[in-house]
């Protein structure tokens, strides 16, 4: 028999989370309805469709774009997007001369109100390690070829400050309305790991 009766956590991670949830529900520290509402919010209401609205608005409204680039947090809030992990926002604009790329080397900081929760690769070691040291190689892995004459700027997000990329409006989209433009904007284009094309 072991010299102590210390219980090891279950090796099954799902069981261990279930145990914690049961305990916190029993103790009244959380409520089941709250947990369900949180999941529903981030699965259905908060995601890159929000950022796409911001981008399409900036492409079609020069005054909005100026506000967005000079003070992003209130400009984004104009469209109703604010709150956790987006309290202090900076939007960086891609141009023919500059390509911007976002990372969080320390963890997973990401602008939740406009992009939702980050993909696994954004939170995983390879991207966090390499985006700052060899961004062009990282971009090439995403199929993005940035010319030598274009400056690449990498923005390392923090707990306090979150970035979003304003991608370039694709050529050939002059006739599209704002909803059609929104549909062109992808999550990765707002991280900087994709360029946009007219469909």
């Amino acid at each position: 028999m072991a010299s102590h009766d210390h219980t090891e956590p279950p090796s099954d991670i799902a069981l261990r989370v279930k145990a914690l949830e049961s305990l916190l529900l029993d103790k009244g520290l959380v409520e089941a309805e709250t947990l369900d509402a949180i999941v529903d919010l981030y699965e259905h209401n908060i995601g890159p469709q929000n950022g796409a609205r911001v981008v399409a608005r900036a492409w079609t409204d020069p005054e909005y774009k100026a506000r967005l680039l000079s003070d992003a947090t209130p400009a984004i809030a104009e469209l109703g997007y604010r709150g956790a992990q987006g309290e202090d926002m900076v939007v960086v604009e891609n141009t023919p001369e500059v390509h911007n790329l976002l990372v969080c080397t320390l963890c997973s900081c990401y602008p939740w109100p406009v992009l939702g929760l980050p993909p696994v690769w954004y939170k995983a070691a390879p991207y966090r390690a390499r985006a700052v040291s060899e961004p062009r190689a990282v971009l090439a892995e995403f199929g993005v070829d940035i010319g030598d004459d274009v400056e690449v700027r990498v923005w390392d997000s923090t707990a306090e400050l979150r970035y979003m990329v304003l991608p370039e409006r694709p050529a050939g989209t002059e006739g599209l309305d704002v909803e059609e433009l929104e549909a062109l904007v992808t999550r990765d284009s707002m991280i900087g790991t994709a360029l946009l094309e007219a469909r």
């Binding site: 279950p10 914690l20 305990l23 696994v120």
Partner: protein, 108 residues
């Protein structure tokens, strides 16, 4: 803190593994873990920097070998015990109960 989490510029991490049409969560336990963290954060059980710091205090090899929401689980368990919201014995009892319930389900 200069720990394993400070990954910027580190070599040897290999290629980026981007999943096509990635779901927001990959398992039900990830959904529950996400919600448990946000709910306990919202009720003031801990501060955001304390949550991150508890992840950064993970043993380095374990940090690299575990997934993102496993980091969250380690951090939340540790903080709730350190803050006195949960007694260590309560957590161990909850593990036993969950394991027993799973065994009973498996035997049924």
């Amino acid at each position: 803190m200069n720990g394993i989490h400070d990954l910027g510029g580190m070599h040897g991490m290999g290629p980026i593994d981007a999943e096509t049409d990635e779901p927001i969560f990959h398992a039900e336990w990830e959904r529950r873990m996400f919600a448990l963290m946000l709910a306990t954060f919202a009720n003031g059980s801990f501060k955001g920097d304390e949550f991150r710091h508890a992840i950064e205090r993970m043993e380095p090899a374990e940090y690299l070998n575990t997934s993102y929401y496993e980091h969250w689980l380690h951090s939340l368990e540790r903080l709730l015990v350190e803050k006195g919201q949960v007694a260590p014995g309560e957590l161990e009892a909850a593990w036993k109960n969950a394991a027993n319930a799973a065994d009973a389900e498996g035997a049924a």
